[in-house]
């Protein structure tokens, strides 16, 4: 640990506001305005982590989102967040963080022994070595390998924080608040547009923030910020990252509030995801500096030159006292000059023959030792850099002692977002980097993203595109004149492609994933030549930094090996998100019960107050079973079944889909959509119907009643209600607009309850004494509508359970009063409520198919419903039902099963085999529904089985590999109860 690196004055930090934070249980201090990274460097903490694979000591490389090394774990408990770059964390009081990937600690890491194994650990090593000798070997080794490699660990506690989602619209979105972005926002707002300016940093200014306080660039920054702040039509979003650009110029933004330590109990959000629709987008995302590739270039203290300058000027941290700056372009000269100005000894190594205008003179005046046409070979030192070796091309190696190395391998425009729009990057030889391809209409770029290195030109471009974007969205006012730079910065002399270094030691390309030049050579030898293959073979660019500093270097290295140019090598695909985003932010409030809407029946509150245990059925909450019948579902549903088979019970069927079908052609319409005839259904009667899809698979079943010539009341299954409704609307609006029919979903308008059991008629007679329930007045499948004290009531005599049963419908707001009225009046008969489990079990016993059997692959014949299809009329699906494959033997069809081993279990999903089959593969069918039969006192099931009913009486095997069970069962008729239907007609 070295002494404080903080300079006595300067920087954009507030020395009046010291902040305490904890690193690895040590209490440290920084200032407001610091990032976690600058605060650590100010404390002299260089070693921030251990590398992914080799556990090499690592320090900070960068000062922004591109940081590959300085990943820390932030927070504790449910707030614990691993792999956060220290460079993007705004320091706040009480910040708690830990370094990662060292054992027992990052400072003393025994796992660094993997470095000695390094020759074995090249790209592809794991997969090649641990794949053998048997299939499944990788599965065995993987957990051990993951423990040794890998970065921080997440916790498994619920996140206590709140995350919000917001939708927003704007005219012109400007992404990035550097000089170009500020100029664009200024111009577009002056032209009269609604402007949204987003900046991932907590300060505006971009590259200008790295200029010394009081310098011309600093004054320019303040002016631009004031200009933008003065415009009421600009919304400035700081600490906000544009994650991705999507169709329709929709941009996903995430706004972070960590610095304010939001309190979820006050409704304050930690992060907000904003879905912003913009009419025009200005991309002013800047550029990211690349590193140089040389031996041991990952030693702590080797940093991007731009980052060294940022730490010096913005945070008043002199990272070292003796600096070596190595570069292939002009930008690093600013770092050298500013370091020299702060009293740091500087040696500048430039790979080129000469630098931009006036730089050499300025450097000489500042006392910088400049060397041209030399390149770095190797960094010296281990836990901190202690010097460098460098050489002229073909010349002898020289050494220079230093404690910081600033490197610059050129700049890569940040074209992630433009690539999301489909704009393919092109290689600019003069810039030695990829620039965005042509933009879609309404998209503009300005500044460093376009390869522009000059400040004056960035400002002019920003102003011009801000104005153009304003014109694009129809703004009429003048944008005024462009902001003028106070002084021209270096001209941005063209970079030369960096040479590959000849020195010893590992030369890292991707620091985060420990990918070296040797790995790229190996990929080349193995034939993984394209950048996409290279990426997958070496994992290059697949870390949380997504290779922001390394992808171009890797492509260059491979291009050299292949003897092709960079344009031909290309880039890998850029995909959202630009920087990592927390899952919590993406989920927003859509978690737990808010994940989706919950539908409740009109009698919901009654169920809760009267001992119902509820269960989710699709979006619905329905009573599963009632506590009167037992404490657990296994015993309760059997008790409830007994009640219905021997007495009378009532269940809530409000969730059934209900559709009002009305109009002069309603009967004709139903005749077309159901396989069976409906045109001649008499008024006052209901009929069970089945619908097919166009391809002849079964879509849904249900009962439809006719209340007058032109009015039908259709019910659908709970699960398919929305699907059927859309399908009917589709037919009426697109295929048969000539039919005079209206369909309206009335699911929520009617409360439904089924009164079932041998005593059902008596029960209703007690509750509704004026209604004639005799079989003559209300026969099986008869319906009746009447008025009860001003309330319309519909009674349909139909049965799902196989017992005498009535469905009673009343308007939703009368549901609970009718329900309680029925229960109170029928109390002498012992009527009680029964839940979904018993309801489903009763129908299994009766052999009624439901959602579990209707798997959208079965035909009418498969379900034993073939006889329902009308021979005398056309219906949807009729023609394709005759397809050869649907008529062939061997199809899986509906059967009943009874268990032959009293102590065993039948299980839904069990795979069925004949007794002579080998027990492997998909078998001859599967069990769809299982229940205890109160009639037969054994477990029974419905199943789909190859050529089903032809095997009736046969003994088969039910395999359930998840529990290692194989049990014997017999194929029987699926109608376990009252096959002749006497009970329902009683």
């Amino acid at each position: 640990m070295t002494a404080s690196a903080r300079l006595p004055a300067g920087g954009r930090i507030d020395r009046e506001q010291p902040l305490s934070f904890v690193l690895d249980h040590r209490l440290l201090t920084g200032y407001a305005g610091d990032t976690l990274a600058s605060a650590l460097l100010a404390q002299g903490i260089r070693l921030v982590g251990r590398s992914f694979k080799y556990h090499r000591p690592r320090g900070l490389l960068a000062a922004g989102v591109e940081e590959p090394n300085g990943l820390l774990t932030l927070g504790e408990g449910g707030r614990r967040t691993p792999n956060v770059p220290a460079t993007v964390v705004e320091l706040h009081e009480g910040l708690f963080c830990q370094r990662q990937n060292g054992w027992p600690s990052v400072d003393f890491d025994l796992m660094a022994a993997t470095s000695w194994l390094a020759p074995l650990l090249g790209a592809g090593f794991y997969y090649k070595t641990f794949m053998g000798p048997r299939r499944g070997s990788w599965m065995f080794y993987e957990p051990f390998i993951r423990r040794a490699a890998g970065l921080g660990r997440a916790d498994h506690l619920p996140d206590p924080d709140r995350y919000e989602t917001r939708h927003a619209f704007t005219d012109v979105l400007v992404i990035g608040a550097g000089p170009a972005g500020l100029a664009a926002a200024r111009a577009a707002s002056r032209a009269g547009c609604r402007v949204t300016l987003v900046e991932q940093d907590f300060l505006l200014g971009g590259s200008l923030l790295s200029a010394a306080i009081g310098s011309a660039d600093d004054i320019l920054r303040a002016t631009l910020e004031a200009d933008v702040a003065a415009m009421p039509n600009v919304e400035v979003l700081r600490r906000t990252t544009a994650l991705g650009v999507y169709d329709g110029d929709t941009v996903a933004l995430v706004e972070r509030h960590d610095h304010a330590r939001p309190d979820p109990s006050k409704g304050e959000a930690r992060e907000v995801v904003i879905t912003l629709r913009a009419r025009a987008i200005v991309h002013a995302t800047g550029a990211i500096e690349r590193s140089l590739v040389f031996g041991d270039n990952d030693r702590p203290g080797v940093m991007l030159a731009g980052a060294v300058r940022t730490y010096l000027n913005r945070y008043a941290v002199a990272v070292g006292r003796q600096a070596v700056i190595a570069t292939n372009n002009d930008s690093a000269w600013s770092t050298a000059l500013d370091l020299a100005g702060a009293g740091v000894g500087v040696t500048l190594l430039d790979e080129r023959i000469e630098a931009g205008n006036g730089l050499a003179d300025a450097a000489r005046r500042a006392g910088v030792d400049v060397r041209h046409e030399v390149r770095l070979c190797r960094a010296l030192g281990r836990r901190a850099v202690q010097g460098v070796e460098f050489a002229r091309r073909g010349g002898a190696i020289e050494r220079r002692a230093c404690d910081v190395v600033g490197i610059s391998g050129g700049w890569s425009p940040t074209l992630h977002l433009t690539s999301h729009t489909g704009s393919k990057p092109t290689f600019d030889v003069g810039l030695d980097g990829f620039v965005p391809g042509p933009f879609a209409p309404g998209h503009y770029g300005a500044g460093a993203i376009m390869g522009t290195r000059s400040l004056a030109r960035s400002l002019a471009e920003g102003h011009a595109v801000g104005d153009a974007a304003a014109r694009h969205v129809g703004a009429a006012a003048s944008a005024g004149s462009a902001p003028a730079p106070t002084e021209e910065a270096p001209t941005g002399h063209a970079a030369s492609p960096p040479d590959r270094a000849p020195g010893r030691g590992k030369a890292f390309v991707d620091f985060q994933n420990d990918v070296t030049t040797r790995d790229i050579e190996l990929a080349h030898e193995e034939g993984y030549h394209s950048v996409e293959h290279l990426k997958r073979f070496t994992t290059l660019g697949m870390g949380t930094d997504q290779g922001k500093t390394s992808n171009v270097d890797a492509a260059r290295h491979m291009a050299a090996l292949r003897g092709i140019d960079m344009a031909a090598a290309g880039t890998t695909t850029y995909r959202p998100p630009y920087t990592p985003v927390s899952v919590g932010a993406l989920a927003g409030r859509s978690k737990g019960t808010h994940f989706r809407a919950t539908r409740r029946t009109p009698m919901h509150d009654w169920h809760l107050m009267n001992g119902a245990v509820m269960i989710e059925a699709g979006p619905w909450l329905r009573p599963w079973y009632y506590r009167w019948a037992g404490r657990a579902v296994g015993s309760a549903y059997v008790e409830e079944m007994r009640l219905v088979r021997t007495g009378v019970g009532i269940s809530d069927v409000s969730s059934l889909g209900k559709i009002d079908v009305r109009g002069p052609d309603a009967a004709l319409f139903l005749d077309r959509v159901y396989v069976n005839a409906f045109a001649k259904l008499p008024v006052g009667k209901a009929r069970y119907g089945v619908m097919l899809n166009d391809d002849a698979t079964v879509l849904d079943d249900g009962t439809t009643a006719r209340f007058d010539d032109n009015t039908f009341f259709m019910t659908t299954t709970t699960a398919q209600a929305a699907e059927v409704m859309s399908w009917l609307e589709f037919l009426l609006q697109t295929a048969w607009p000539e039919l005079r029919v209206q369909v309206v979903s009335v699911t929520d308008r009617w409360a439904g309850m089924s009164v079932a059991g041998p005593k059902a008629r008596e029960a209703i007679a007690l509750a509704l004494p004026g209604v004639d329930l005799s079989s003559e007045a209300l026969p099986y499948m008869g319906v009746r509508e009447f008025d009860l004290d001003g309330t319309p009531v519909r009674i349909l005599r139909l049965s799902f359970s196989g017992e005498l049963a009535y469905e009673i419908y009343v308007p939703a707001d009368k549901g609970t009063s009718m329900w309680t009225h029925l229960l109170e009046q029928a109390a002498p008969l012992g009527m009680r409520p029964y839940g979904l489990e018993a309801l489903a079990s009763l129908r299994i016993e009766k052999g009624h198919v439901a959602g579990l059997e209707l798997d959208h692959r079965n035909t009418l014949d498969d379900l034993g419903l073939g006889a329902m299809a009308s021979k005398s009329k056309a219906f949807i699906g009729r023609e394709l039902a005759g397809r050869e494959a649907l008529k062939k033997p061997g199809r899986w069809s509906l059967v009943g099963l009874e268990l032959l081993e009293p102590t065993a279990k039948l299980r839904g999903g069990a795979i069925l085999f004949s007794r002579h089959d080998a027990l492997e593969g998909h078998g001859r069918g599967y069990i769809t529904s299982v229940t205890w039969s109160t009639e037969h006192h054994k477990l029974i099931a419905l199943a789909l089985y190859e050529d089903g009913r032809m095997h009736e009486g046969e003994e088969i095997l039910c395999a359930y590999p998840l529990k290692n069970e194989i049990v014997r069962a017999r194929i029987v008729s699926p109608m376990f109860v009252d096959p002749s239907g006497e009970r329902v007609r009683a």
Binding site: Y246, D247, G248, T250, T275, R277, G422, R672, D694, D695, A722, S726, E729, F730, L732, Q733, T734, A735, W736, P737, A874, E879, L880, G882, R883
Partner: protein, 89 residues
């Protein structure tokens, strides 16, 4: 995120709609007994890259089925009209 113009409700997010595919095909008349015609209608689709017409239903709005012009190459959305009304002249 696509924005879809609904003739009744105005421009809305595509999340309010459901998609039902190709709107350039004509459904065989009800009662057509030619199984080949049904086969072609149900199973055979061209999958063009470029301008296309699709059926979308505004399920969370007016519940009308629309014909929407969409470029499958660029996702650019064009005109829309009610399916029952037919293309405006």
């Amino acid at each position: 995120m696509l924005r879809i113009p609904c003739p009744h409700c105005g421009e809305r997010d595509y999340t309010e709609f459901r998609y039902a595919g190709d709107a350039t095909k004509t459904r065989p008349a009800h009662g057509t007994t030619d199984a080949r015609a049904w086969h072609d209608h149900v199973f055979l689709f061209v999958n063009p890259k470029g301008p296309h017409r699709e059926h979308w239903q505004h399920v969370q709005g007016c519940r009308q089925w629309l014909v929407l012009e969409r470029d499958t190459g660029t996702n650019a959305v064009g005109r829309s009209w009610l399916a029952r009304a037919g293309e405006p002249s």
